[in-house]
């Protein structure tokens, strides 16, 4: 599956099946919990994939171990992973790659990006072509989340000069950051 990372098509070095090599490997929660093939002892890069009914609270102790956490969207309208993503970024302080997998559609990129996803497995490369456009469609937001976009409620309180709405957010390609949610006023 094509992968969009930091706004561009990217190579995906991650494997999902253990072929015995030292390649970076994404495992399921079940495999991780059962320590299948001694994966917990491996010192090659490890990622984990969580189904939409698997809360990241289940891996809270091990978060430091993962370089990728992939959250599944089994259907476009199963929105649990939006909460999981914010919890991972804002509560658990996860700084690695947060990957959206499954039914990942163009019209959801913005929501996902705002919740802290920075990598997206998409059905075809066409999605990468419209990425920039999809993220530019809306630039005014009313909620503080763990990305760098400042909500209207914060921008309104800024001293002059007020900038027009279209240019108010930070650029759409900015990577999510985990540090700034705390000091945003409402």
């Amino acid at each position: 599956m094509p992968l969009i990372k930091d706004g561009k098509l990217a190579d995906d070095p991650w494997q999902v099946a253990d072929d015995g090599t030292a390649a970076p490997l994404i495992v399921s929660l079940e495999a991780w919990q059962a320590n299948e093939g001694g994966i917990r002892q491996r010192n090659t890069p490890i990622g984990i994939r969580l189904a939409s009914d698997q809360s990241p609270a289940l891996i809270a102790e091990d978060i430091e171990r993962f370089e990728v956490i992939a959250l599944e969207f089994p259907k476009f309208n199963d929105g649990r992973a939006y909460s999981y993503a914010r919890l991972l970024r804002e509560r658990h302080g996860y700084k690695g790659e947060l990957r959206a997998v499954g039914n990942v559609l163009r019209d959801q990129f913005l929501f996902m990006h705002r919740c802290g996803f920075d990598a997206f497995e998409v059905a075809d490369t066409g999605a990468a072509a419209v990425w920039e456009e999809a993220l530019r469609e809306i630039s005014v937001w009313y909620q503080p989340t763990a990305d760098r976009r400042k909500p209207a409620t914060t921008l309104r309180r800024k001293p002059h000069p007020r900038r027009p709405a279209a240019g108010t957010s930070s650029g759409p390609g900015d990577p999510p950051s985990v540090a700034c949610a705390g000091h945003w006023a409402y």
């Binding site: 309208n77 649990r80 929501f111 937001w141 027009p164």
Partner: protein, 551 residues
């Protein structure tokens, strides 16, 4: 009232452009109907039996005269000259072409309106007491908080794909005119022991096929914590609400399943993690929004108006209208005037473009240009001088808008039913019309007194039939429309679900059945009782006996 600033304007314009692009992708075939459906629903566009229906949000039921004129204009240009006001303080247009939808949204954006989140599994248009800001019994104007919630919930990145739709209602008064216990979250203002105003938080109310009265999970929440607490509730629900069965996906099912206490514990635990953080509402932000809702320039008037008293004595029809349609205002010399959209034999909640324009003019001439939409599908002029009421009433009469039946039997709440809705089992509108014609005698209606009657065309209960004093539900028996009747429901601060009387009635029998219920009540009632008092005293039995005596 609230005015958009540059951010809000920028936002709705971007949203229109985005939807224009999506419609274009649909029309040129790049999007299938399946792919397009969730996108159009996020902009209030439904595909109904005969055409697209557009549902436009009227946040907390407040409209300016200018906005009302624009709604009239849209009715005329893009619909068949009508709009339909709904039980959630929205307006629906039933005859919309897909190609026109982006232009309509652009027309709405010009007057600071939109159709965002009027459908879909997201936080819907926040509703409030239609007398907010002018009610004599109010603690604070709930629209301030409704607007704060509107902004916070708009395109919320985390909560736009919830298990199911999510409705929030808010009242600032002890008398609940917003049916807050019939919502996923109900908010009601209270004073605490220190004299500070805050919110009682109710969750898990809702009607539909599993009607539940909302339960209080927190008796008092300080105002500054409102958004963090709401976010905590939504976050718990978004993770744990059922997604495997559409009929079990509302928050009420989750609350019932884990129990209200456990649910409250989960919310409090989440809230402890986020309170005092980025969602904290500072006093100056509340004050900023409050300033938009500052009272208009009221004149200093005497509490009584001799001219008004004289008109009331000399003109019985006017007196009757005042009795049912006029409500006390918090300022001396002013009154709240309700405009009934329920003429005898009419379609409940429908208004023609001309009527909308008349109401807009009257709001400017007899008020401060503000109009309210009530969840009972009526309109309200909130600031009328007592001395102007008679002149206002005469003008309303000319426009066919002076029906003196607010709160009375023919002030029927009805959903669109089988005439428009593709989920319906039975028609609602013709039943409402039939009952309206049967009771087309104002003296009799006023004698019957306060009585709410709600008609839903299917179990989805859009007309809230469970909480009508008389509730009528359309069912389908072997392809024939039948109507189940419940009695004793109530939507106010003493919310209760009605009791089923027995086997359903056919469309031909239903008006007779309502008449039998009313006659039984009149026989049984004691001095000073309203329908609900009598019903609570005598119970279902006498009604049952009369209704099924012939069978």
């Amino acid at each position: 009232m609230y005015r958009y600033d540059e951010f809000d304007h920028g936002f709705v314009r971007q949203r229109v452009a985005q939807f224009r692009g999506q419609v274009a992708r649909r029309l040129d075939g790049a999007l299938t109907e399946d792919e397009f459906k969730p996108l159009r629903l996020m902009n209030g566009l439904y595909l109904q039996l005969h055409a697209y229906m557009l549902r436009v949000a009227i946040p907390y039921g407040t409209l300016s005269a200018r906005q009302m004129r624009r709604l009239a204009d849209i009715a005329r240009r893009y619909d068949k000259g009508f709009g339909h006001f709904t039980t959630r303080q929205n307006i629906q247009y039933n005859w919309i072409r897909l190609e026109d939808a982006p232009d309509i949204l652009a027309d709405l954006a010009d007057v600071e309106m939109h159709a965002i989140q009027t459908s879909g599994n997201c936080i819907r248009n926040v509703t409030a007491d239609q007398f907010a800001g002018v009610a004599a019994d109010e603690i604070e104007d709930p629209r301030v908080y409704a607007e704060i919630i509107r902004q916070w919930s708009t395109l919320h990145p985390e909560f736009s794909f919830l298990p199911r739709k999510f409705k929030i209602a808010i009242t600032g008064a002890p008398r609940d005119r917003a049916a807050v216990r019939a919502h996923d979250i109900g908010l009601r203002m209270h004073w605490n022991a220190d004299g500070e105003a805050g919110f009682e938080i109710m969750v898990g109310g809702g009607l539909g096929r599993t009607p539940v009265i909302g339960k209080t999970i927190r008796a008092f929440l300080p105002k500054q914590d409102l958004l963090s607490y709401l976010e905590a509730i939504l976050r718990v629900y978004n993770q744990l609400g059922r997604r495997d069965n559409i009929h079990k996906a509302r928050i009420k099912i989750l609350v019932n399943q884990v129990g209200a206490e456990t649910f409250a514990d989960m919310v409090e635990a989440e809230w402890r993690e986020i309170r005092g953080g980025a969602l904290d509402l500072p006093a100056d932000e509340i004050a900023r929004i409050e300033s938009y809702f500052a009272p208009p320039d009221y004149e200093r008037l005497d509490a009584a108006s001799p001219a008004f008293e004289a008109q009331r004595r000399s003109d019985p029809a006017f007196a009757q209208w005042v009795r049912s349609n006029v409500v006390a205002h918090k300022r001396p010399g002013y009154a709240i005037a309700n405009i009934s959209l329920k003429p005898a034999g009419g379609v409940p909640g429908d208004a023609s473009a001309e009527q909308m324009e008349v109401v807009a003019d009257l709001a400017e001439r007899y008020g401060f240009g503000e109009i309210r939409v009530a969840h009972e599908q009526n309109l309200v002029l909130p600031d009328v001088r007592l001395s102007d009421l008679h002149a206002l009433w005469q003008e309303l009469r000319t426009a066919g808008l002076a029906t003196a039946n607010i709160g009375l039997l023919t002030d029927i709440i009805a959903c669109p039913g089988l005439d428009y809705c593709n989920l319906a089992n039975a028609r609602s509108i013709p039943i409402a019309q039939r009952i309206g014609q049967r009771f087309d005698d104002l003296a009799r209606l006023h004698d019957i007194g306060r009585l709410t009657l709600n008609i839903s065309g299917c179990i989805n209960a859009c007309a809230h039939h469970h909480v009508g004093n008389i509730g009528i539900l359309g069912v389908n028996k072997k392809g024939v429309e039948y109507y189940q009747v419940t009695l004793g429901g109530n939507a106010d601060e003493n919310a209760a679900l009605g009791d089923l009387v027995g086997p359903a009635f056919s469309g031909e029998e239903i008006a007779d059945a309502v008449e039998t219920i009313v006659d039984t009540y009149l026989e049984q009632r004691d001095r000073g009782e309203q329908f609900l008092d009598t019903y609570r005293r005598v119970g279902l039995q006498p009604f049952k006996e009369k209704l099924y005596a012939a069978h």
